[in-house]
Amino acid sequence: MKLFLRHILLFGVLFFVVEKGLYFFIQNAPQKEHDKRLELILEGKMKKDIVIIGSSRGANNISAKQLEDETGMSCYNLSYRGSSVVFHEFILKTLILHNNKPKKVLLVIDNGYQFLKNHSLHFRFDRLFPLKNYSYINDKLIENNKKSYISNFLYSVKINREDFSLKPKRVYEVNVMTSHGSKLLSGKNNEKLDYKSEIKSYDINDEELHKLNSFKAIQEMCSKNDINLYFVFTPGLMSFDNDFLTRFKELVNADEKIIVYDTLNKRYKEKNIYRDHTHMFSNGAEIFTSEISEFINSNK
């Protein structure tokens, strides 16, 4: 028995020491990423007056650089494709925790889907995995059962399969980022793209409580930290969902502002500014960003 226990212990200690060699791959993981925004946040390098938070509608439809030029306030886009409001809450919380508070937050709303169960909007854990060497991130992964508690002690538990590749990650065209975090799209529109006039009626019973809670948490965070919160509805080649807006207004506090694109502007009905029904090319983003700048300048 003694021999068995001695061998088990020795084996365990040796494994503990040897597996530390995996640190090389873990610390190398962030360098392979094209999108370094979360790392900048964690490093406390995101000192901006205005931040844009949202899903791909925020990333593609708003130019942070243009907004900065037009408002005279420093600006950065922290919108992530396919991200849900729960992820947006995480981004804002992390930003406030590690950086100077922004003055204004533009929260881009996924009109009609923001609080519903929607398989295309997730908590973007894939953005967290390369940064697991930050204990703050690893704790978040553990909290969400994406990593085991043992990852605090063993690198072999902390590491991911992709970490073994030393090549920089491949970047798809839609994910190429500008210097201010926006992902402005270029290219030809789809000829078959048509104006969508039918909108599915909004059912409040389909809303998910945890998404509503995250939304509320964002409001509270902004209120507590004296941040002006703006909700942004970006244009789409479709009818505007008024049902959702009515519901949304019930959730908004008096000091918060809603920016809805100019629904009477005919340019928003031209299909050549759209890549698809909800994402605009850079020429469309330029028009819409000007609208936001105007709104911010008039509310300074």
Binding site: L3, F11, E19, S148, Y149, S156, V157, R161
Partner: protein, 479 residues
């Protein structure tokens, strides 16, 4: 509690220390510890269902005792049927009630008389199919006077609930496992190390092979209409390795854990995918269940003693019941039926016991004939697994239609290179170790400790690295 959880990683050493250091001087105390540990292990999942195990154990303990007290055949038969009805009653209620109600509703609707279903929201207690068969084997053996009933209730409770094999087998016979609780266990270094090795290999099969195959099998099966024939083939292959890695991995962990406590459990899988025909496959797949059905159903039905018709009938009964045992769904029954069909030509040609030895027993590689035989058997098994995995019979038929379409020759859209390399590595190691109880039983044993330990460390590192983001349940927990 799952084997692949942090809870179990803490539970096992605690029980191990209490077992060998605190209670080792007193056999009764040691058995009592195993009962408590087993109930904690089971109750971790849902403590309410502990009452079922306790009740089932007490019923069979009492009946076994009563069987010994009476020589009157009618009374003995009554006692036996009481045990069968109580045990199968629980199983039938929890596992099959809704299936029967739904099937009746469908049948009446088909004949134009729709009726309102009255199904219940029933949770299936984990492992009920396994411990029910284990405890039934005790009563039947006592009835047949193959086994003396036990007077030691603690040993009996420990036999029914022994935590390593409680929820997914191997289904142990009372004649084999129960006497091990009567004798004082000795700690043997070689047995414990062997147990650790088998646990390690079990985790590799479960975490690396099964869980990673599950990711792609689910992706393909859940959207089967969207995939080409070649991708559907990949999906079927991934599930084939998933179910093997999952279930045989569990068995390896169970057997290895038992060895740490000085117990010997029966081998449950013997490299079934290297079988040369379906009969051999069924001698190598889920051995404890196949032999249970052979001894307690096939032989009492007359086995192969009667004429051809009786043999065929009994074979179909065994396979259909085996399919039904896996779950209350027509897919499992069709899966059983399909296997019976595969078996039939061998039975009729009296070739069902042709391959009793290990493939390529005396050589490193199989012959061309063996390779073709293994390929054919494997292919038939893969087709049957499609029924096992599908949501419904219609889904399985559509899946197979899609698989055998012209797009079977196209390049699959889902082909994870890392996983395919791992599966090939896995098949290689299994092939090398096919003469043993588990693949790495003697692998590298002649090498120096440095090499052996380095190999085990690499296996552990691969297990950690390849472990999926989320913990996957063992498939056989649902049975």
């Amino acid at each position: 509690m799952y084997f692949n959880s942090l809870d179990f990683a803490l539970f096992l050493p605690i029980v191990f220390i209490l077992y060998w250091f605190i209670t080792n001087k007193n056999l009764k105390l040691q058995n009592a510890l195993l009962v408590v540990a087993s109930y904690v292990f089971y109750g971790w999942w849902d403590w309410r269902f502990l009452s079922l195990i306790v009740f089932s154990s007490l019923v069979d303990y009492t009946i076994g005792f009563q069987l010994n007290q009476t020589a009157q055949p009618s009374k003995r038969k009554l006692l036996l049927w009481t045990s069968i009805l109580v045990n199968l009653g629980f199983l039938g209620f929890f596992k099959y009630y809704n299936f029967f109600v739904d099937s009746f509703v469908d049948a009446f609707s088909f004949f134009g008389s729709p009726i309102q279903p009255n199904t219940l929201d029933i949770i299936l207690p984990v492992g009920i199919s396994f411990y029910t068969f284990q405890t039934l084997s005790y009563t039947i053996d006592v009835y047949k006077r193959k086994l003396e009933p036990t007077r030691d209730i603690v040993s009996f409770l420990a036999f029914v609930s022994f935590f390593p094999q409680l929820v997914a087998g191997p289904i142990e016979r009372a004649t084999h496992l129960l006497p091990q609780f009567y004798k004082k266990r000795q700690f043997h270094y070689s047995q414990a190390v062997d147990g650790c090795r088998q646990i390690l290999w079990g985790f590799f099969k479960k975490v690396v092979i099964a869980d990673n195959c599950a990711e792609y099998a689910n992706q393909i099966f859940n959207n089967s209409a969207e995939h080409s024939g070649s991708t559907l083939l990949m999906g079927a292959l991934f599930f084939t390795f998933q179910i093997y890695g999952d279930f045989s991995g569990y068995s390896d962990i169970a057997i290895g854990t038992s060895r740490l406590f000085g117990f010997d459990l029966k081998q449950n899988f013997a490299f079934p995918y290297f079988s040369r025909d379906i009969a051999e496959f069924w001698r190598r797949w889920h051995i404890s269940l196949s032999t249970w059905f052979r001894d307690y159903l096939y032989i009492p039905l007359g086995g192969s003693q009667g004429g051809t018709w009786m043999k065929v009938r009994n074979t179909f009964i065994i396979f259909l019941v085996s399919g039904f045992w896996h779950g209350a769904n027509w897919t499992f029954i069709i899966w059983g039926f399909l296997n019976a069909l595969y078996f039939l030509p061998l039975l009729l040609a009296k070739r069902n016991r042709t391959h009793l030895n290990v493939v390529a027993q005396d050589s490193k590689l199989p012959s061309i004939t063996e390779l073709v035989q293994m390929g054919l058997t494997f292919g038939l098994t893969v087709i049957a697994w499609v029924f096992f995995r599908s949501e419904s019979v219609t889904h399985a038929v559509t899946y197979l239609k899609g698989l055998f379409s012209s797009s079977l020759l196209s390049l699959p859209t889902i082909r994870p290179t890392n996983l395919l390399v791992l599966i090939l590595l896995f098949i290689g190691i299994e092939w090398i170790g096919r003469r043993q109880h588990y693949a790495i039983e003697v692998l590298l044993l002649k090498q120096s400790r440095v090499i052996r330990w380095a190999f085990y460390m690499i296996i552990i590192a691969i297990i950690f690295v390849f472990s999926s983001d989320t913990q996957q349940e063992f498939i056989y927990f649902q049975f």
